[in-house]
């Protein structure tokens, strides 16, 4: 579904991603693991068209989206849950979700989104900025799902969130994948979370993929070594 090949990304003169190659199948969850500063956020932003691609190609299905703007990528099925969540804080919970619907010409929040996140239904009239961190994370995922994506990108979704909520989020993400057949790319530093949800784990270091494992035969100790400082 998502096809990334020889992706190079730079900020001005300094190249941060040095030719990444990977594919994500429909119904597959991959985790991109790496320490701070290794290029996870840069990868997500470039996939979303926020940071320009220097060279290489990104495609969704048969469509080459490498030169697309963010909103055109969304139209082609890419959705994004950024690091730090970035919800629209002065807008209500419901309005936040609706921002993802409007570009598709929809206006009513589909009931299955509130089914996934019942707490958002309870709080739909509250300003997004007044939600707890975990609730904001759910809202950011709900907003992304409102765009009816084929590929869901999540950048460090567990950052700053309580363990009990992290477990719930793992369940929810798997449920989303099972119900909708999405491809999910999640960047992580927390190995236990990645092992719980991912079908495949890639390790990124200094802008290159240095290790890859299917979950079934993962070398936990080796991945953990990459993550320790």
């Amino acid at each position: 579904m998502l096809n990334v090949s020889r992706l190079h990304v730079s900020y001005g003169e300094s190249e941060v991603l040095h030719g990444l190659d990977f594919k994500v199948a429909p119904n597959e969850i991959i985790a991109i693991m790496g320490r701070n500063g290794m290029g996870k956020t840069t990868l997500m932003k470039s996939l979303m068209g926020i940071v320009p691609t220097k060279s290489g190609t990104v495609s969704v299905g048969a469509t080459d989206i490498t030169r697309f703007k963010s909103y055109e990528r969304v139209k082609n099925g890419v959705a994004y849950v950024p690091q730090g969540r970035m919800i629209f804080s002065t807008m209500t919970v419901q309005e936040n979700i609706e921002t993802g619907l409007i570009p598709r010409g929809e206006s009513k929040v589909p009931p299955d989104i509130y089914e996934l996140f019942p707490v958002l239904l309870e709080m739909k009239g509250r300003r997004g900025g007044n939600l707890s961190g975990g609730q904001q994370q759910q809202l950011a995922i709900a907003r992304a799902l409102a765009t009816a994506p084929k590929v869901l990108l999540l950048d460090e979704p567990t950052e700053g969130i309580q363990p009990s909520i992290i477990r719930e989020m793992a369940r929810t993400l798997k449920r989303i994948r099972d119900e909708r057949g999405l491809s999910i790319v999640v960047s992580e530093q927390v190995l236990s979370f990645a092992l719980e949800i991912a079908d495949r784990v890639l390790v990124i270091e200094n802008g290159e993929i240095v290790h890859e494992d299917n979950r079934a035969d993962i070398d936990e100790a080796k991945v953990a070594r990459f993550l320790s400082v």
């Binding site: 139209k75 994004y80 921002t99 007044n130 765009t147």
Partner: protein
């Protein structure tokens, strides 16, 4: 300065000057609304906003002339058509300017300031060349002239009431557009976080262009209202732009309610004091008042409270 008047007279003067200030208030509100929408949306301070207003005023003048010459029977209704034309003329010019100039300068706020200032000079010269340097004034239809006597000493001008009503309608319409419509949600999302708005599928450049057009269109309508209190010349817009900035800053740049309250306070203060003092003295006092209040409340009168 109050000593020469009896208490009842003073009361009447305040009320009447208050109503006389209504058109000024309306022009302020409409101008500030447009300016605040554009500033809130893209952080662009539109120095040419006054010229968009004047375009609306010219459109109103020419519409009135057209009716006078070709449709004298319908002269009473020209203002309604003029307003609509003024909105679309100023809005279209705004969208063209956004496309040609502003969108290339979004990441350079100082340059937009200079560029829109340059634009205001260009437009002034253009008006001078096309419409002539002479100031023009519209003739009001008879139903808008005259006044209603409320009491023996208090009279209210009909055109003031009319423009006031118009302003309320437009303000409510803008509020509904921003807070109830799907379009408004997109605008607010872009205002909050442009990058993220793009990442949920909003075409932020299109939103920018239409929002700029909307802000300029409202300035055009302000120009229609303006024809009732002043005569229209190439540079008439200049006089209003500073006052309008004052209104926006005083009100707190992102609050509709603040804009209205601040336009009301400033226009009323000015209008009331103008009766007792000279116009420039009234302006000095108004300015002083605003400066003092802004020193106490630098964020403006109203702000939305939320964790960011």
């Amino acid at each position: 300065m109050f000593a020469d008047y009896s208490l009842a007279e003073l009361g009447s003067i305040f009320v009447m000057q208050g109503f006389a200030g209504l058109i000024l208030f309306s022009v302020f509100v409409l101008m500030a609304l447009g300016l605040a929408i554009i500033f809130g949306q893209m952080g662009v301070i539109n120095m040419a906003h006054g010229e968009f207003m004047i375009l609306g005023a010219y459109v109103t003048y020419f519409t009135s002339q057209f009716f006078l010459n070709y449709l004298p029977g319908l002269f009473g209704a020209y203002f309604f058509l003029a307003m609509i034309l003024a909105f679309f003329a100023a809005g279209a010019l705004g969208m063209a300017v956004e496309w040609l100039m502003i969108r290339r300068l979004y990441k350079r706020p100082l340059d937009t300031l200079l560029a829109t200032w340059g634009l205001s000079l260009i437009l002034q010269q253009l008006y001078r060349s096309v419409f002539g340097p002479r100031e023009v004034g519209v003739e009001l239809p008879s139903w808008m002239m005259g006044s209603i006597s409320v009491t023996d000493t208090i009279e209210v001008q009909i055109n003031g009431l009319f423009v006031m009503g118009l302003t309320i309608v437009i303000t409510v319409a803008v509020a509904l557009l921003m807070y109830k419509s799907a379009w408004g949600k997109q605008v607010r999302a872009v205002v909050q976080n442009r990058v993220m708005a793009g990442a949920v599928g909003i075409d932020t450049e299109k939103v920018d262009r239409y929002t700029f057009g909307l802000g300029c269109g409202i300035a055009g309508v302000a120009g229609s209202a303006f024809t009732m209190i002043g005569s229209t010349g190439p540079t008439s817009g200049q006089l209003y732009i500073v006052d309008t900035f004052l209104v926006v800053v005083f009100g707190g740049a992102q609050s509709l309610l603040g804009t209205i309250a601040s336009a009301f306070t400033i226009s009323q203060a000015q209008s009331t004091m103008e009766f007792f003092l000279s116009g420039s003295m009234a302006k000095v006092l108004t300015l002083l008042g605003v400066v003092i209040i802004l020193m106490l409340r630098p964020q403006g009168l109203f702000v939305i409270k939320v964790r960011r």
